[in-house]
Amino acid sequence: MDETRPEPIEQIRQRYEGEWLLIKVTSHDENGLPKEGILLGHFPDRKAAWEATEFVDGEVYVLFAGPTIPEGWEAVLHGWFSL
């Protein structure tokens, strides 16, 4: 895992585009959202990123650096449930 100084989360996203990121949150913006953090690791898929969270305490942000669906795909997410 990479351990560095806190930096803007947007900057980390741009550096690792197309990867899942594990970031320790160190500061928040005026809306209470993660603003800066320390990159703990970058991974090729969601599973690997979440498995790595097992060893990290505190406020951690797991995110994908890129679009929510691959290029050329469409998403239809509508759903409801019944008991």
């Binding site: 995110l63 890129g66 997410l77 509508h78």
Partner: protein, 147 residues
Amino acid sequence: MDGFRFDLSAPHIVVPVRITGMQRVRWVNLVLDTGSTSTVIDELVAFRLGYNLESAPTVSVTTVSGTSQASIIVARQIFALGMTVDEFPVLVMPLPTQLRADGLLGLDFLRRRNLFCNFEKGILLTLPSSRGFLHRLAIFAQIFPAL
């Protein structure tokens, strides 16, 4: 009033959400989905938050492509779009790997406040529900300059 910017070029409106689970606090990105009646997270996320899905109750979930089963957990706290909700039920199911977000922020969370979306500027505003005429007027006075 809470205002958020979203990426106009992105395929979804993605909302950072802080979930406090049984053992841990995690920030995740959820897709804002007014078509989903419930908020949903991926199985792996729930497991890492400290939930045991084997003992969790289940429900039937209907989607456009069919039906499936989902577990229900209760998040100790959820924070998103300026709102904090304690003891919030969340559905848990495996999400497709092609979806690069950890779940959906559904209507059960969104309907707690009024939501205004400007797709030209990429601005999302949330406001408390209006109680009377003057309150509504004050809210609109806040909205228009922001939008």
